[in-house]
């Protein structure tokens, strides 16, 4: 009990002192997970919208594959990305293994199915009359699709929260392809695992608290956005 208490006290000291090592780890975590999420949105949102709005051949099969991907075990993803990027692998020439780039790829693979599937669900559930309304008001096909996507924005944001939650908390894949190199590929989750192994609980607890705080902050921001959308109190005259 004393160890845990001592750990929390030391952790708060590290946080308050804005320990440079701690800040570096946090910043890298945000960069890696943020880049993976942005990439997932860039590809997953158009794919989810396409599957929701157009008659695509093999749509059922594609959706089944994407939904299966939502439950991919991180270590399996880590293993495949490792094999792809290792020197003898097909993408070994890119020399990405044990770099933040490899971690972004692994996290992207984990978050892409979540963003795509939840975007698809959100868009497909928009009342069909919205699409008709856009049509009768003179929207071209692209404007029509964007209008439906816009109506689904809060569901899509929920996909973002779920995806971000998965990648920021993930440790198996990033440790395999990132290697947990101090000052280079060490992120919050891998540091927690490493420092716990070493019996150095101060940094582990500090990072745990920050990770939880970050999750809470992300959820609060999204909830605020959703509330704004529901109440219209944002007075969005131009958007």
């Amino acid at each position: 009990m004393d160890t845990i208490l001592q750990g929390f006290i030391s952790a708060f000291k590290l946080i308050i002192a804005l320990d440079p090592e701690l800040l570096k780890i946090i910043w890298l975590s945000i960069k890696v997970s943020g880049a993976a999420l942005i990439l997932a949105f860039l590809l997953g949102l158009p794919l989810g919208a396409l599957l929701a709005l157009k008659r695509v051949p093999l749509r059922g099969l594609i959706l089944s594959l994407i939904n299966t991907g939502m439950g991919l075990p991180p270590v399996v993803v880590g293993l495949f990305v490792y094999l792809l990027l290792s020197r003898s692998g097909p993408l070994g020439f890119m020399e990405l293994l044990y770099t933040p780039g490899a971690m972004i790829i692994a996290q992207f693979i984990l978050v892409f199915p979540i963003v795509t599937s939840l975007s698809h669900t959100a868009i497909v559930n928009v009342n069909p009359v919205i699409r008709q309304a856009a049509q009768v008001l003179g929207a071209n096909p692209l404007q029509e699709a964007l209008t439906v996507i816009r109506e689904a924005r809060y569901g899509i944001m929920t996909g973002g929260i779920a995806g971000l939650g998965r990648v920021t908390a993930e440790v198996g894949a990033v440790i395999m392809v990132g290697g947990n190199i101090a000052g280079y590929t060490r992120v919050m989750t891998t540091t927690i695992a490493l420092e716990t192994d070493k019996g150095n609980f101060d940094l582990a607890i500090a990072l745990g608290v920050i990770l939880l705080g970050l999750s809470l902050l992300i959820n609060l921001v999204f909830r605020a956005l959703q509330r704004l959308g529901r109440t219209g109190s944002g007075v969005v005259l131009w958007d």
Binding site: V136, N140, T231
Partner: protein, 219 residues
């Protein structure tokens, strides 16, 4: 002066069931044409075909300006509009809902503000400009839908039961707006109603749809 619309032997079938059968008619420009008929006889389908939301299985829909036929393209679709029975209110402010059609046509911000402001005065929703549109009552939503259509100054306006399921007060407001529109803009209006008295009040031409066929009606 609004566009004129010609239907030539238009037929439409859904799942083997004939909805419209050899419907032919000339909707003269600048007049209000009222379609009547029992439920399920094809009134809404006819409006959707006329508004180019659906293609007929057989026959032709022609729009004419000064006697010359127009291509059925986006440009034409932007000169006509349809007020859906369920308006399809966008989850944003009342202002943004009404501004939608102008924004997608690339109008300048200043002009959009002026036109939307003016139309909201006409439909009595000016005080709700910044309100979230989904919070409006059914009657107010119908007025919003009408404002969203009117702000585009369409040359042909289709109204699918514009006063259905709303209270007397809202119904009267909407009728007044339609009458004002007839007088000022001289758009071609084609509307569906179940109310015979309303058909008499608003219609220059009365039409009846029965078993998918279109007939002129006297009352």
């Amino acid at each position: 002066m609004g566009l004129s619309l010609e239907l030539s032997q238009v037929s439409k079938t859904y799942n083997g069931q004939v909805i419209l059968q050899d419907c032919s008619w000339v909707f003269e420009p600048g007049l209000t044409h009222v379609l009547k008929g029992p439920n399920g006889t094809g009134k809404s389908t006819l409006l959707r075909v006329c508004a180019l939301l659906e293609a007929p299985d057989k026959g032709r829909v022609n729009y004419l300006a000064g006697g010359r036929p127009l291509a059925l393209d986006l440009e034409l679709k932007r000169r006509i509009t349809l007020l859906l029975p369920n308006v399809g209110v966008f989850n944003t402010s009342v202002f943004n809902n009404v501004a939608y059609g102008l924004k997608i046509r690339g109008f300048e911000r200043r002009e959009i503000e002026a036109r939307v402001g003016a139309i909201l005065e006409v439909v009595g929703l000016a005080d709700k400009k910044r309100q979230r549109a989904l919070e409006l009552s059914t009657g107010q939503s119908k007025r919003l839908g009408l404002a969203r259509a009117m702000v585009l100054e369409p040359e042909v306006l289709f109204l699918d039961e514009p006063t259905a399921s709303i209270d007397q007060e809202n119904s009267e407001i909407i009728e007044r707006i339609i009458l004002e529109m007839q007088e000022k803009k001289r758009a071609t209006i084609i509307m569906v109603t179940h109310d015979p008295a309303q058909a008499q009040r608003l219609g220059d031409r009365l039409l009846l749809i029965k078993n998918g066929r279109l007939f002129p009606s006297k009352a």
